[in-house]
């Protein structure tokens, strides 16, 4: 097969595969540029959601590697950062599940992250939320992501984002009123 023919076929594959839905048009942004600009935008909300900065760092890098693998598709997405966040969150949850099994055999080496906070009670209440609820709270309340972006990043409908946030806020309000 001639080299030129191979190239033509590859380009043809990209174009025709768009119909199949797994490759979309190229966008100009380089992966390196995206990585430098977006790494922290994934790591920080993830660290607060997971309550584990080290795991957040690790999972952000893993998700970035997968973004690199699928870069043609990811860079054409409307919210590549949200895509990376979702992959990182899923990967981290998977790791946490595995780690729980390991903890049954050996004690964990990593301590619980405990930052300086204004309100210890509120920190504990936030920690008591499920990861999915905390993810919505962090993205919507702290980072002001739109409902649509949050829904896309978490892979859930917008209605689910609203209901998770409402339930989380209601639970927090209820617990804090109980404490008062």
């Amino acid at each position: 097969m001639e080299r030129g023919l191979g190239l033509i076929r590859l380009l043809s594959m990209e174009r025709t595969s768009t119909r199949a839905g797994w490759v979309v048009e190229l966008q100009p942004q380089s992966f390196e540029e995206f990585y430098r600009r977006s790494w922290s935008d994934v790591y920080r909300p993830l660290a607060l959601t997971l309550r584990d900065p080290d795991l957040a760092c690790e999972s952000t890098d893993e998700a970035m590697a997968r973004a690199f693998k699928h870069w043609r598709s990811v860079r054409a997405a409307s919210n590549p950062t949200g895509w990376v966040y979702r992959v990182a969150l899923n990967w981290a949850i998977d790791r946490k599940r595995k780690r729980r099994k390991e903890i049954l055999r050996t004690p964990p080496e990593r301590g619980v992250w405990m930052p300086q906070v204004v309100d210890v009670d509120l920190f504990e209440q936030l920690s008591s939320l499920s990861v999915s609820q905390r993810a919505v709270v962090v993205l919507r309340v702290l980072h002001d992501w739109s409902e649509a972006d949050t829904a896309e990043a978490l892979g859930v409908p917008v209605g689910t984002v609203k209901s998770r946030l409402n339930r989380a806020l209601s639970a927090l309000a209820r617990r804090m009123s109980d404490d008062d």
Binding site: M1, R3, G6, R9, L10, M13, E14, T16, S17, R19, A20, G21, W22, V24, E32, Y35, R36, W39, R44, A47, L48, P53, A56, C57, T60, D61, E62, M64, A65, R66, F68, K69, H70, R72, S73, A76, A77, S78, P80, W83, V87, N90, W91, D94, R95, P115, Q116, V117, V118, D119, L122, L126, V138, V141, L142, E152, G155, L169, L172, A173
Partner: protein, 281 residues
Amino acid sequence: MTIDERLRTELQMEDSALPDLMGSLDGTLRRGRRLRRRSIATVALGSVIVAVAVIGIVGFSLPRLPDTQVHTMAGEAPGGTVELVGVSFSYSNRLHDSPEVLAGRAAPEPLFDTSILGTEIPLVEDFEAVDLGDLNGPTATGPMLYGGSVAETPVFVFQGAMGPLEEFLDLLEDGHHDGSLCFVGLEAHCLRPGERISIGMGGTGGGPDGVPWEWSFDGLVGEDVAVVSVIVNEVAAVWQRPVSGLFSLPFAGVPGDSVSLVLYTPDGQPSVGYLPTKLPD
């Protein structure tokens, strides 16, 4: 102060207390290249040693092959057959001498109308996609057969110091992916002696903008097979001509989709099928 305001203040404090960790771009690029590789394995007949189609190997460094070398050597070596763990492959030319890298031979030309099979996803001879200097995996113990590249993912088959297919997959998952989902739900099927077909997915969590994840059928089939075709939910989706029986056919799918693989002889007879299966969650 409202609950929202208290929350925001609290989260801002937590955020400011986060350690300023930074990822490694170089490490991410290396990891990403490894993820791009695709693997296929075939079990040795009556043996624990396998021939593996892949991608790359640490400590097994080959120079990138310039096109001129490929074509010059094609004229010098008429091709032949190579035996990998009991499976014979024909090759069209010898691309490199030490270690040997062989170019696979295209499947027989289909003599029927392939337009009914959906989109062709060809294996292309694209050595630009082959980064042999960043390989990570088993060490080849014999010649490497290069099938081609699919979307810049090179597909090789070679004999390596590996265990049986299942063990190899465990190794890949645990050793390279730490239990994550690179090959989640993978199933391996033997259709005829010497043939192996597997199905796997490339990631976790869903694709961007609702685009399904890329799955793939990979495998080795008889060199009499002219076309392999993937059917998704009873609709022909994609097809490919194997190279020396080697194929790697990506397709789009979501969990729950019914997929099957059909192999066609040159005259269009479906020779062997992979029974419909549901893509796992």
